[in-house]
Symmetry: D2
Subunit: 313 residues, 4 copies
């Protein structure tokens, strides 16, 4: 089952679970998969920016992806294959597609500047992985320093039939979504799926602007599912109420470097990860920061019972 | 009256008010000053990054600063004097200090990379403006691409007696505040004022980490004053409640480029600016975005009566 | 007399002469002007990147430009007016054009990324300075981090009739010149003058690719005039011989930061500047480096008598 | 035999030879090795920035390194192991060290900014590869956007005993070499080998400043050997004469992107590579550029008989 431009809903970005000694914790991958399915995720993305993909050896990457694919049992799994060269990208893509992945996600190298360079890069990448492999454009200027105008995205979508989805995390990005959807309505660009990243910081209004869902790793993917569902059902204020209750924590998780530590910590607190360990290099998290997270969870619990967690060990 | 390292409270970053034709609206400067004073601001900063300083001619910059200084009637006014060269920086500094400014704010040029380059730049800048002029370090890596470690800030503070304040807007930055305050407690760094920027996105926890207040332009500076006051008074949950109610709008205002348009629009809606006009180049704001801002104000008004504004003209 | 798209030959980039105390040395401006004219320069550019423009106050910039305009007595003088905002750019442009400048040079701010941002910036700049003011695009990615494709330059040239010249200093850039000239031949782009910068490092082949001349500050502008003249006259090997003899020194002068010190030192050694002083901040030059420059001059003198200079004071 | 801080001479940066279909051409690796040895190279570096390392799969990288190690028969081979994560870096290091490599070269990721980040990165990298593996710091700000002060290099050298060499390609860099050597003389920094990159553009004076040799890929490594030998022997003018004769071509080869195509073309013309093919993505080289290279070779041949090549096929 391959990723299509009609994909909708939430594709959580899965962290890669490690034990404290750095070994991969496959049982936690299973728990994450079961949890994602249970809360209504449409699919999942592994080995993204926050999946610590660069810290895995090639064979480990394949194992992590394969484990998630099996456990998701038919729900589409997208695999991040961004690499400094096309040889490694092609090799990883072939193995995970053979293992049943639905598609791959490709981030631009941060040396790209001009419109032509960006389009040219995706053209070469699509050729390298094969025209039959659906791919996701990762548009994340804050991290990659690559700025894609709506026009550049349209060029990629128009030229490359295997482009199925935009992982939208431009900032600001509301007008970008609006522009792409307007071009679709005008018939000058074919439809693609637009799922939103950026930790979900603007998900409430992104859904109203035409996004199809979320594709991010916030530690309450169940909230993301709620907001996407409520928004799609036209329950605007309910969607905002749910979103706003989580915004203080979500904002806290958005801190570069620290964010992943917060995310893994909360997922551990929720019983989904056995450990919050990251492989090196990893940003440390201070005791004060952990106390702040507990404080945020305590305040959130007044609005969302899922944040009522057993006391820390 | 000069800025001192003991400054505390809120120094709003004032926008520069323009009429629709681009002329400076001095009456709105007066209104802003009166409003800042009325809601308990300790001082104000003009000609900052979002004060459209680069769009003013030299004489206009002096006029804007002078007007604010007069109307603030004794409360300290800090003036942004960042410039591509020290000649222009020195010239503006001398004129605004003669006019009664309390100090100046200096951002690093985005070409600085190494620790020594950063310290060297502030050394030369402090010499250029004169050792008797208190200055504020603007630490805003997201915009300036210059990363200052706590150690670099300590070097500047230790070497340059005229450094009075840090406008802290690193991201993440909570641990940076904690580190600087720890050094103060250990006696290895003298005390300076730390006021927080970044639109206030982390003000709630920044106050708990040791910040002295806020130095940012969020369109409800009265909320910033509330949070700083409540936090300083030890009313932790009340401070967070007030902050969280504003977070959805505050987060919306944090969008690069669009943010200033939102800020000026809300200040106009609040009756403080005659127009939301910016000088060119300016990011446009769409009708949909304006409707989103109204929606956010409507939701905020349920928690904070100050957001209950008369219907748009 | 205004700059036109038919400009050819050498427009040296003039340094701004200072005395050791930092005061502007107007007599040296006169000497430079006389020297430029005597060696066959077509015009001159002042207040460029290496003219220490950012270290001058506004009134000083006008004075430097005015002095050069008067002394060049009818030869076109282009003035760098790059500024962080359009207000300052407009103000300087009006004053120097009133004083008789032939046109202005505008560098892009280093925040521009996408094609549309670059074209949009020049559109706004051209509007700000007035449609009757000829302007030069400065295309210098190594310093400004802004990458302009040939297509972007064509868009600017086509849209903005007042664009008269490209100061070409992309690296690599030979194919860019070739592409632009091909478009001219195909009739899909109007002709503009292309003068080459980058210290002249590729001037030999740039001329063969279709450049109209040089627009750079190498300390032997007379050599640049020789190469442009010989190349235009079809004396290929003679042009290369002359160029190659200077390449070791020219290469040495190309070092970022240090280069200007070398340039001013050699111009002082040639009797054109009274002092090699720069205003702060300035890269220091070591005794060893000065000895290396003397060594280079000594070796050059075997091929070019103009490098036989009286012993250092 | 492991790399030591006493290494001297020329370590050419070897290109990775490909056939036109993209397959690795191992016979050309052998020819390169024999040639490097014959012209007096002290060692060789493979899988550097211009070795197209990012375009190889892991197993290919090991094969290329192993082939060169065997053929170099005892001369030290350094292997570039820069990678986005430490897992891949460690894996490649272990395999090539097992195969007989003398050490590894590590470039900093282009996200590093502060002094502490740079030192911290090398600390973690050295731990990841193992304290018994000699490593080379690659200091190349123009490509990596990471600026290392002399002080940062001293910190790395002092803290990490396995640091054996600096591949120096800062620009400008003459004073950096001088500073490091001064610290050695003062006894405040231990000696390391400093070999120079940057295509060799400043090799003549770098040797005089205290460099131990060259570590770059210019298409006439035999010239690099000449210059290093003559300079070490105190034949200053002869070294410069030899260098200056090559400077026009060397400068031409220094063009980013185009340079590797020029380099592989000349190595093919010299009979060392079977093909000048690069794996994708590769910068194209135009017919005009190829003709310019032939022109440069023709002019060079008047000074250096090694540039007298049989006519192109």
């Amino acid at each position: 089952m391959k990723l299509t431009p009609d994909a909708r809903g939430v594709f959580p970005i899965a962290p890669t679970p490690f034990f404290d000694d750095g070994a991969i914790d496959f049982a936690s991958i299973d728990r994450l998969a079961d949890f994602y399915a249970a809360c209504g995720s449409a699919g999942v993305t592994v080995l993204g920016q926050l999946g610590e993909a660069a810290k895995l050896e090639h064979s480990e990457s394949v194992e992590v992806a394969t484990r998630m694919i099996r456990r998701m049992a038919g729900r589409p799994v997208v695999v991040g294959v961004s690499a400094p060269g096309f040889a490694a990208m092609r090799a990883l893509t072939q193995e995970v597609m053979d293992a049943g992945a639905a598609g791959v996600m490709i981030a631009p190298p941060n040396t790209l500047r001009t419109d032509d360079q960006i389009v040219g890069y995706y053209r070469q990448a699509a050729e390298a992985i094969g025209a039959d492999v659906p791919f996701v454009i990762q548009d994340y200027p804050l991290t990659f320093s690559v700025q894609m105008t709506p026009g550049v995205i349209r060029r990629i979508v128009t030229e490359l039939a295997s482009c199925a989805m935009l992982k939208h995390e431009d900032w600001p990005g509301l007008e970008k979504i609006a522009q792409l959807r307007e071009w679709e309505r005008e018939g000058v660009m074919r439809h693609i799926s637009i799922l939103c990243g950026n930790g979900g910081l603007f998900l409430d209004y992104e859904m109203e602007r035409g996004a199809d869902g979320a594709n991010t790793g916030y530690c309450f993917p169940d909230m993301l599912c709620d907001v996407v569902r409520l928004s799609a059902a036209g329950q605007r204020e309910a969607a905002h109420d749910r979103f706003d209750a989580h915004l203080p924590l979500l904002r806290y998780e958005q801190q570069p470097g620290v964010g992943l530590a917060v995310r893994k910590h909360v997922l551990m607190r929720r019983g989904l990860l056995a450990s919050s360990a990251q492989r090196k290099p990893a940003a440390a998290i201070s005791k004060t920061a952990l106390a702040e997270v507990e404080h945020l969870l305590g305040r959130l619990a007044k609005h969302d019972a899922r944040a009522q967690l057993p006391a820390r060990r």
